[in-house]
């Protein structure tokens, strides 16, 4: 065996993105200098993007166990039992940096990448959701980014044939230089057909299937692990962005899901490509690989070994297959119209050995590459002080405030955006975008279903990074309850600035701590997710922005609340409106004021959710909508607009009661016959609920403070869209 004689230096390692300490650690572990190819592998695999070296200790404190958890963090995608033998595999991933420089392909490959995680778990993709954060919606740059991102998400998902069932879109100046594109994908798989990445069985064959390997996306992981530069530098970064091919992705998905006999393990090829898949599969199985690079189908001639190893070409998987099934496997994949090649075998060496042109060019302990990154400690700093409440008098015309809020980007109608996505392919979508507080789908040939709420926000977390994620969790739990679903598991996507900035690192620490404490209060585990750091541009860091996807279960979709109210229903107010200033769209509209900490009462949210779910199960709740951005008034106005019917509500309202934001508040409607019994049932759940009005007519009236026509509301809501 010969290793490349080319030597390398500590300086080269540092130039590739490793720290000096990491290089020294590699030297100590190997007992020799890594060659250039090996160094490039370490630079990629030990990047923040692949190794989570700054966050894995923080994330390890999150609760991950529960009765319904079938696969947790570390699996391709987390998976929970959603009933009748089905598991829902789901996960969030970010594609922020690629989308900033090449929005169409950045977003398209973000969707493609997270779909492959779900397929690797053995699941058929059934839903995509997206969380997008942009800067000022009025600037040409935001329009360019948004048009590209939306077209990319649609272009990939529509062709692949997975419905987009909802999400969240945020507009805030602080994302101007560094937009966020996070996607959640979910798929269904029988419990006993989930797949693993653990490569076992020396002598078993290593196959690469799907698209050919080209020069796209090389060093993408390293690109994702540093702050973004100035706009004019973006052009040079486009070669780091991968290019998606949903047609190939679709064929590959069908081929993967229908291949079973002799399959030992599989992994999708994402960041760091073959280098990542082989080292991680070997590390997971306590085995090793001998890889023949020349056998990998290549898109162009003359690729360097490090390019083949680190290419992030899309639409590829690696499989470990029992030796006697190799020819069957190759024939299977080729019959589905995708490339397939035998490119190596499993060994018991524990080492990742790569051969090329008769030489052994890589010989590394797989576990060192995959899991050996030393944790990186960062200095903590002082949290920014929340802005003091500036104080302002309530405007005389609160109806005008409601119209302004309905037209605010982030609250205003974005049905134009969701129309770019197929929402119903697959025949499972019970509630799609704009049809409910959370997406609802039905299990195959069943009355049972599941719901997914995707929420995200930087404002509340900016004001208080500990309470912000808890506020989001409460919102998601309420959203699910409004479609009759009980929350059972979470996938989290943390987006933050550079950990080298002590204040930003502290906000990251607090965000994860807040999320963990919130999850423990609610008794819901995390089954996986994503952590994206270095979200900074020359204009500064983004606010800490957790994107949280929560899955809920529904026993009978026939009983869940309707999307629309009908005339004669009784309006019920659940919970107690706030009377004091709170961080809110209202506060921002009036003065730009964001802080202080959000008002969070997760116990209250849980009581509200338990109550709504129990009442929904009896079919007595006609509609339900919780208060989110814009508070109770905006929630009821949106429900009225969607239902094309007016409401008349009594009670004692001031501006903060109407527009303040916090926990434990929702609207519900019921028939006159059922309303009293629902109110009585509230007591048993510790939920305050009262009859406050009726559904009728074409005006939106809140006694003494707001009296507007439905047309005025609808015009503000849709006119505020871009």
């Amino acid at each position: 065996m010969t290793l490349s004689t080319e030597t390398t230096t500590r300086e080269l390692g540092i130039a590739m993105g490793l720290t000096g300490a990491e290089f020294d650690h590699i030297m100590a572990e190997l007992g020799r200098e890594p060659n250039r190819v090996e160094l490039a592998i370490f630079a990629g695999m030990w990047s923040e993007h692949c190794s989570y070296k700054s966050t894995r200790e923080l994330l390890s404190a999150l609760p991950t166990t529960g009765d319904r958890v079938l696969a947790g963090p570390g699996a391709h995608a987390g998976a929970v039992d959603v009933g009748e033998g089905w598991a829902l595999a789901f996960k969030i991933e970010s594609h922020n940096h690629p989308s900033a420089v090449e929005p169409y392909q950045g977003a398209a490959t973000g969707v493609g990448g997270i779909l492959r995680d779900v397929v690797a778990q053995g699941a058929r993709p059934v839903a995509v959701m997206d969380a997008l954060c942009f800067g000022d919606p009025a600037t040409p740059r935001t329009r360019w980014l948004q048009d590209g991102v939306v077209a990319g998400i649609g272009g990939y998902g529509n062709s692949y044939g997975v419905p987009n069932v909802g999400g969240v879109t945020v507009y805030d100046q602080r994302y101007e230089g560094n937009p966020l594109v996070n996607a959640l994908a979910a798929g269904l798989v029988r419990h006993d057909r989930m797949r693993t990445a653990a490569a076992t069985g020396p002598g078993n064959a290593l196959l690469i299937v799907g698209a050919t390997t080209g020069r796209d996306g090389i060093l993408g992981a390293a690109f994702a692990s540093e702050a973004l530069g100035e706009d004019h530098e973006h052009a040079a970064r486009r070669s780091h962005v991968q290019v998606g091919d949903p047609f190939m992705g679709k064929k590959l998905m069908e081929a993967m899901l229908s291949f079973e006999d002799g399959l030992v393990a599989c992994q999708d090829l994402g960041a760091c490509g073959i280098a990542c898949a082989t080292s991680e599969m070997a590390a997971a199985g306590g085995s090793g690989f001998d890889v023949d690079l020349a056998a990998v189908p290549q898109r162009e001639a003359g690729m360097e070994p490090f390019e083949i190893l680190l290419s992030e070409s899309q639409e590829r998987f690696m499989l470990v297959v029992e030796r006697d099934q190799v020819s069957v496997a190759l024939a299977h994949f080729r019959a589905h119209g995708v490339h397939a090649a035998l490119c190596g075998s499993v060994t018991d060496s524990g080492r990742m050995r790569v051969h090329h042109g008769g030489e052994t060019i890589v010989d590394l302990p797989a576990a060192l590459v995959a899991d050996g990154t030393p944790s990186q400690a960062w200095e903590r700093g002082v949290l920014p002080t929340p802005l003091a409440y500036p104080g302002f008098a309530a405007p005389a015309d609160l109806g005008a405030v409601l119209l302004d809020l309905l037209a605010t980007p982030g609250i205003a109608d974005i049905s134009w955006l969701y129309e770019r996505y197929d929402q119903t392919v697959g025949n499972r979508t019970v509630r799609g975008p704009g049809q409910g507080e959370a997406a609802v789908q039905r299990l195959p040939h069943s009355v049972a279903g599941y719901a997914i709420s995707l929420v995200g926000d930087g404002t509340r977390c900016n004001a208080d990074p500990y309470l912000g994620p808890q506020s989001l969790l409460g919102e998601a739990v309420r959203n699910l309850a409004c479609v009759g679903a009980t929350a059972v598991a979470v996938s989290d996507g943390i987006n933050a600035g550079s950990p080298s900035n002590p204040a930003e690192f502290t906000r990251l620490v607090e965000t994860i701590r807040g999320l963990g404490d919130g999850l423990r209060t609610l008794g819901i585990p995390v089954t996986g997710g994503n952590c994206s750091l270095y979200n900074e541009s020359p204009t500064g860091p983004i606010p800490p922005t957790p994107i949280i996807g929560v899955v809920g279960v529904i026993d009978d979709i026939a009983t869940i609340p309707s999307p629309v109210m009908t005339s004669g229903e009784v309006v019920l107010l659940v919970g107690t409106p706030p009377r004091e200033p709170s961080p809110s769209a209202y506060g921002r509209l009036m003065t730009g004021w964001e802080g202080p900490a959000p008002v969070v009462d997760l116990e209250g949210d849980r009581r509200l959710a338990d109550f709504l779910v129990a009442q929904s199960a009896t079919g007595r709740i006609r509609t339900a909508k919780d208060a989110g951005s814009g508070g109770l008034a905006v929630a009821l106005a949106k429900l009225a607009i969607r239902s094309r019917i007016g409401v008349e509500v009594g009670g004692d309202w001031n501006d903060w009661a109407l527009f303040g934001e916090g926990s434990g508040m929702a609207w519900a409607t019921a028939t006159e016959e059922e309303a009293d019994s629902i109110v009585e049932a509230g007591e048993g759940f510790g939920v305050r609920i009262e009859r406050v009005g009726t559904v009728a007519g074409a005006r939106f009236v809140i006694a003494g403070v707001i009296d507007l026509s439905l047309n005025e509301l609808a015009a503000a809501y849709s006119g505020g869209a871009m």
Binding site: K251, A331, H336, G337, G426, T429, H445
Partner: protein, 250 residues
């Protein structure tokens, strides 16, 4: 007598194949997935071309698919008295294959659009597809396409007598609000909205199921029994099964 066989033609990039399979099964057909690279089996009573992106459709939608053996064998099926439905991408393929007149082009306004729309049944026809639908009825169906703008060089007048469904609010710039088209026999239907996704009230609408039930009852009253070999049984809990979709690459 066994249920009539319905071939759902699966192109490599089809993604509505399972939805159509299910809708046809519910209507009382014996449906199966059939790979596009083979001619249709002789016992096919109905062929369905599902939605999707047949060959990626990076070029004109449906153009490549129209050359597939299964599509080339459709004319024979029609001559023998069989039924054909092409939904969305399937409609595009039928037009590209010359089984229906005109062309489907980029939406106006441009871009992919998903929306629940109302279409009106506006034709006096004996078409098997519409025997369960009263004249003047409106159907609530979803659309999901980027190239659904129907065009005919002779304008709407040239196809008025073949256009059974018209959009109440035109979402894509189609001439004469055309949402669907029949051939001269009335047995070949191309439809841009998705009736197979509107075959269940829990999923928003069951208006689309009337097309399939009409076709089913027509087969009973008009064609001789078509018996074939036993069908592949589809386990409803098996989300993996698909036919291999090419003849194998070199």
């Amino acid at each position: 007598m066994s249920d009539p066989r319905a071939s759902v033609i699966v192109f490599p990039g089809s993604n509505g194949d399972r939805d159509l399979l299910e809708a046809l099964g519910t209507a009382g057909f014996d449906p199966f997935l059939h790979p596009s690279h083979r001619p249709l089996p002789d016992d096919t009573a109905l062929a369905g071309l599902p939605g999707g992106f047949s060959f990626g459709d990076y070029w004109r939608a449906g153009m490549l698919a129209s050359q597939e053996p299964a599509v080339r064998s459709l004319a024979g099926l029609v001559d023998a008295g069989g039924l054909v439905i092409g939904i969305c991408n399937g409609f595009q393929i039928l037009v590209e294959a010359g089984l229906l007149p005109g062309a489907l082009s980029y939406n106006d306004p441009a871009g992919f659009r998903h929306r629940w729309v109302i279409v009106r049944y506006a034709l006096e026809t004996n078409s098997p597809w519409f025997r369960d639908i009263p004249k003047g009825a409106t159907l609530h169906l979803p659309i999901a396409h980027g190239e659904g703008s129907y065009f005919h060089p002779g304008g709407f007048d040239a196809v008025r007598a073949q256009a059974p469904l018209l959009y109440e609010e035109n979402p894509n710039g189609s001439v004469g609000d055309v949402a669907a088209l029949l051939d001269g026999t009335g047995r070949v239907l191309g439809i841009m909205p998705h009736p197979e996704r509107a075959s269940d009230p829990d999923l928003g609408s069951e208006d689309g199921s009337m097309l399939f039930s009409g076709a089913r009852s027509w087969v009973d009253s008009h064609s001789k029994p078509l018996d074939g070999p036993p069908t592949t049984v589809h386990d409803p809990n098996d989300l993996r099964v698909t036919p291999s979709i090419t003849g194998g690459l070199p």
